[in-house]
């Protein structure tokens, strides 16, 4: 081997070694650069992903707020119950397990459906409720056979209870199973892990206040989803407790009077709009809905001719009948068409000029000479036929609208109906027909197209009693959470201004005459009371029987469905009003016969209480 060649060769080898080392360093720099990007620039983002890899956030359910009446009586609370849960990952054969379980607990189709629905969105290790609210018998049977099914467990939870059952079902409402749509709409995650949501009544209207804000249990879990340890715990925040404006005693007394009827009754505190009583009969057991109503139960409620799920107080539409007369009497004064001492001669019927048809008074023989007060006290129809004819439908509608007919009362409960305020425009829009003069006469006595809800009638009464003041009906007095108490706002209505404020007194006097005056239609109401009542009876015709027949039919001869509704509105004490009521009893005949006595019981129940009351004179006397 030649030395020179060997040296040259060695030199070339070392050059190539150097190039190789340079290559190594170059590739190392490439790796270093890549690691620099990953470990410094992308660090925070990738660290977050590592954290979300290893942590699982589980919701911790809080407690739904309680609902009390104004005196602290519990209307809705939460009681312990047991529910059957299944952890899918620990069940080998789901269908076989469900079949076996069905022998021990009653599994309805809707419960199985709900189970399968909720399983869709859940992870395999999360328990899915199968049956809520186990009975003690079911609990005992399951407990004995507990070892048979791994992955099936009985879990203690809270379930909603309504201690007054059906009594407050229409006002308080109920909670029911949360739906997939509710969960989809829940962007803030307030319903994470929740099983129930308010469906009707206060439970729905005040859902945002009542619902708890769930806490979070942050767990570390591995790639298989097994939970290893708790990293963090955030306690849930309970929902607000609500104190309603409802007076349970008044509510109960009113219900007692209306038992077995199809009826609605409302009492408002006219000094602040508080809803003291809200009754719709018949009612239903709200517990049926809490843990999922069975098809049979639901069908039974739907088939009930009394329609117990229908909230008559807010959704029932009734012709106001004669209860509208004080408003139209006021309209006559305001438009200058009537003076209080003006007389109209009532011969028992009224005809439009150049027309043959007779519009009859409810009293066939007529009322004779009636002034404004007589027209209200005796509820003379002919006076209002005449007045309505002179006023015309436009002014009638305008004035009635000022008392809230055709518009919402603003009560903060779901699905309030607004009734119908008939007018030329309304008829053209709704029926596509022009207005006939005869229809004006019917509206003038609260019949025809005019429809009102009992809540609107109660608010109309407040507007009269307070001489144009009044408040939006208020259902919740205060909301409280722990030490924090918040008053719900009292919302005054825009004041009704009259041309002459003395007109209010004329109307008040005439409504007092209904109860206390000679010939008043509701004299029985005033008997034996230490305070004076201003009221108005009403009879809402369901069918136009009496217009054509010469003989007024006897109540018992008429089929139930065609009998008149009985209505009564009142406020008391007449001189310093505190409470306004409206009562409607379906298909029960004249207002004085059925509705007025109910109203009397309500007024008596509320106003005769003297504990701590000093402003009622009769209370002072009672003390002596």
């Amino acid at each position: 081997m030649q030395l020179s060649e060997g040296r040259e060769q060695l030199g070339d080898f070392r050059l190539r070694l150097g190039l190789t080392l340079a290559g190594i360093l170059l590739l190392s720099a490439l790796i270093s650069g890549r690691l620099w990007l990953l470990q410094t620039r992308d660090h925070s983002q990738l660290a977050r992903r590592a954290d979300s890899n290893r942590t699982t956030d589980l919701p911790v359910q809080g407690v739904r707020g309680l609902i009390y009446d104004r005196k602290g009586t519990v209307l809705a609370d939460n009681v312990p119950s047991w529910q059957l849960e299944v952890v899918p990952e620990r069940v080998e054969d789901m269908q076989a397990t469900l079949d076996e379980l069905a022998e021990f607990v009653n599994l309805a189709p809707h419960e199985l459906q709900r189970f399968h629905d909720r399983r869709q969105g859940a992870r395999e290790f999360q328990p899915v409720p199968l049956k809520l609210n186990l009975s003690p018998e079911e609990l005992a049977r399951l407990e004995v056979n507990r070892e048979r099914w791994p992955g099936v467990r009985v879990q203690a939870t809270l379930t909603r209870r309504y201690p007054r059952d059906s009594a407050t079902a229409h006002l308080v409402g109920y909670v029911g199973g949360i739906t997939a749509r509710d969960l989809a709409a829940d962007e803030a995650g307030v319903y994470r892990g929740a099983s129930h949501i308010g469906k009707t009544g206060v439970e729905r209207a005040y859902e945002e206040a009542l619902r708890p804000i769930p806490g979070t249990r942050r767990l570390e879990s591995d790639a298989q989803g097994r939970r290893l340890r708790e990293l963090d715990y955030q306690a849930p925040i309970p929902g607000w407790d609500l104190r309603l404006t409802l007076d349970s005693d008044l509510q109960r007394a009113t219900e007692g009077e209306l038992e077995g009827r199809r009826a609605a009754a409302i009492a408002l505190d006219l000094r602040n709009g508080d809803v003291l009583a809200l009754v719709s009969m018949p009612s239903f057991d709200p517990h049926l809905f809490v843990n999922g109503i069975s098809h049979a139960d639901y069908q039974r409620l739907l088939d009930d001719p009394g329609n117990p799920l229908f909230n008559r107080a807010l959704q029932g539409r009734y012709p106001p009948g004669s209860t509208i007369k004080p408003v139209f009497a006021l309209a006559g004064l305001e438009y200058g068409l009537r003076h209080p001492r003006d007389h109209t001669y009532c011969q028992g019927w009224f005809t439009l000029p150049d027309k043959q048809r007779r519009y009859r008074d409810w009293k066939r023989s007529g009322h004779g000479r009636v002034n404004l007060r007589d027209s209200v006290a005796q509820s003379c129809d002919v006076y209002y036929y005449q007045l309505a004819h002179e006023m015309g439908i436009d002014r009638l509608a305008e004035f009635a609208g000022r008392f809230g007919i055709g518009s919402a009362t603003g009560i903060p409960l779901p699905a309030e109906d607004v009734g119908i305020l008939p007018s030329r425009d309304w008829k053209m829009g709704a029926l596509g027909e022009s207005w006939y003069p005869g229809e004006t006469l019917n509206v003038g006595i609260g019949q025809g197209y005019m429809l009102m809800t009992p809540m609107q009638m109660a608010l109309m009464t407040v507007r009269i009693a307070t001489r144009g003041e009044g408040f939006e009906p208020r259902v919740v007095q205060t909301r409280s959470r722990r030490a924090l108490v918040r008053e719900e706002p009292v919302v005054p209505l825009p004041r009704l201004e009259l041309r002459d404020r003395r007109h209010w007194e004329e109307i008040h006097d005439s409504m007092v005459a209904v109860v206390h005056g000679w010939g008043g239609t509701a004299r029985a109401v005033g008997e034996g009371l230490p305070f004076r009542v201003a009221g108005k009876t009403g009879t809402a015709q369901v069918a136009g029987l009496s217009q054509e027949d010469d003989e007024a039919p006897q109540l018992d001869d008429v089929p139930y469905k065609l009998r008149d509704h009985s209505l009564f509105i009142a406020f008391a004490p007449a001189e310093a009003p505190e409470i306004a009521v409206s009562v409607i009893v379906e298909h029960s005949g004249g207002g004085s016969a059925v509705a007025a006595p109910v109203a009397k019981v309500m007024l008596e129940n509320y106003l005769m209480r003297c504990d701590g009351v000093v402003w009622r004179p009769w209370c002072l006397e009672a003390d002596i």
């Binding site: 060769q9 790796i31 890899n53």
Partner: protein
């Protein structure tokens, strides 16, 4: 000539008696310790795996010491027969091999499971060095073609298994060997051009899962639960380590099983998660130091066989490191390449131990050469 102190004399004597190069040996020892610690962490604090790894390392140490003591002439003589035998085994794998995960790599001979492709990683450089050492410099067409045939035979067989990763790892050192042996630049240029031109052909012959791995590299987020899962999780592991890491035994990605293959091919991600950017840089520096030391040994080796063998083995180690780190950090496709002396696994440690033993042997026996 200066007089060395008696201490130095005694220490040099100690290393010489063991036929070891102290710097390289020390670096390897350090790397092995880091490896055991990381395997311990990657298996969730499981002492059994770390102990098994330790035993393999000790076995490797024995192999290294044994190989280091042998004179290089022995390897020179055994290189071509060994290569031929291994080639036969590779053919045997093709007909009698056991199938694991859809590819035939293993051969069971008398109860011992053998992966001939692993053996070839050592035997091909040996055979090439033996063939190229006597070639006239600068190396012309004939020896180059001979070398290419020696490379192509085993690589072709391994590709058929199919095991693209190993084929690449066998082929790459062969190429380096040709380069370092002094093949004319012109020929090198031609070979590189031919290789580039055949890339589309390679793509067309690739299996679906192999293509998917390459495509996954380009867009790992497209299928985060499937093919992209490995890369995504290892990037999360590395990235969440940040500057200084979460600390030993504190990496959640490996401990909670999010990172697959955490203690084998993806152990670098575990290390990166626990020791951060500083740790990965130190580890990379450690590997560079080992390779550089190997290249220095090659530069001072006394004959051409030794030079070629040692330099090629050093580069091979770095190729392993680069492919593994590139794969784990998501710039190369997922191929089954372990990180030298870190990844859990016996055959890789053993072949590395033999390789380093060869380097030690060349180093220890350099004085005996005629040049000295």
């Amino acid at each position: 000539m200066r007089l060395a102190g008696s201490d130095t004399m005694r220490r040099e004597g100690f290393w010489q008696r063991l036929c070891l190069e102290p710097w390289l040996f020390g670096l390897l020892l350090l790397l092995s310790l880091v490896g055991v610690a990381t395997v311990y962490s990657a298996t969730g604090g499981d002492g059994a795996a770390a102990w098994a790894q330790t035993k393999r390392l000790l076995l490797g140490l024995v192999a290294l010491l044994l190989v280091a003591r042998c004179p290089p002439q022995w390897f020179h003589g055994l290189a071509l027969p060994g290569y031929g035998l291994c080639l036969l085994l590779l053919v045997g794998v093709h007909f009698f091999g056991t199938e694991v995960n859809g590819s035939q790599r293993w051969l069971v001979l008398g109860g011992v499971r053998l992966q001939p492709s692993e053996l070839m990683k050592i035997l091909l450089p040996l055979a090439l060095a033996a063939v190229l050492a006597p070639a006239r410099w600068p190396v012309g067409w004939l020896p180059t073609l001979l070398g290419l045939v020696l490379i192509a035979l085993p690589v072709g067989l391994i590709v058929l298994q199919p095991d693209l990763g190993t084929a690449l790892l066998v082929a790459a050192p062969g190429g380096f060997m040709l380069f370092l042996a002094g093949v004319r630049w012109r020929i090198i240029g031609l070979i590189l051009a031919a290789a580039l031109a055949s890339l589309p052909l390679l793509w067309m012959t690739m299996h679906d899962y192999q293509r998917r791995r390459v495509l996954t590299l380009l867009d790992p987020e497209a299928d985060p639960q499937g093919a992209g899962y490995h890369i995504l999780q290892s990037k999360i592991a590395l990235g969440s380590g940040g500057w200084s890491g979460k600390g030993w035994l504190e990496g959640s990605q490996a401990r909670l099983d999010f990172l697959p293959e955490a203690h084998t091919d993806f152990i670098f991600a575990v290390f990166g998660e626990e020791h951060g950017f500083l740790g990965t840089m130190l580890l990379l520096a450690l590997y560079i130091a080992i390779c550089a030391r190997g290249l220095m040994i090659a530069a001072t080796a006394s004959d051409r066989f030794g030079r070629l063998l040692v330099s090629t083995l050093s580069v091979t180690v770095f190729v392993y490191v680069f492919i593994n780190m590139g794969m784990v950090s998501g710039i190369l496709p997922v191929v089954g390449v372990p990180l030298p002396l870190m990844s859990y696994g016996g055959s890789s440690i053993l072949s590395l131990a033999v390789a380093f033993g060869l380097m030690m042997s060349i180093y220890a026996h350099r004085q005996n050469s005629s040049l000295q």
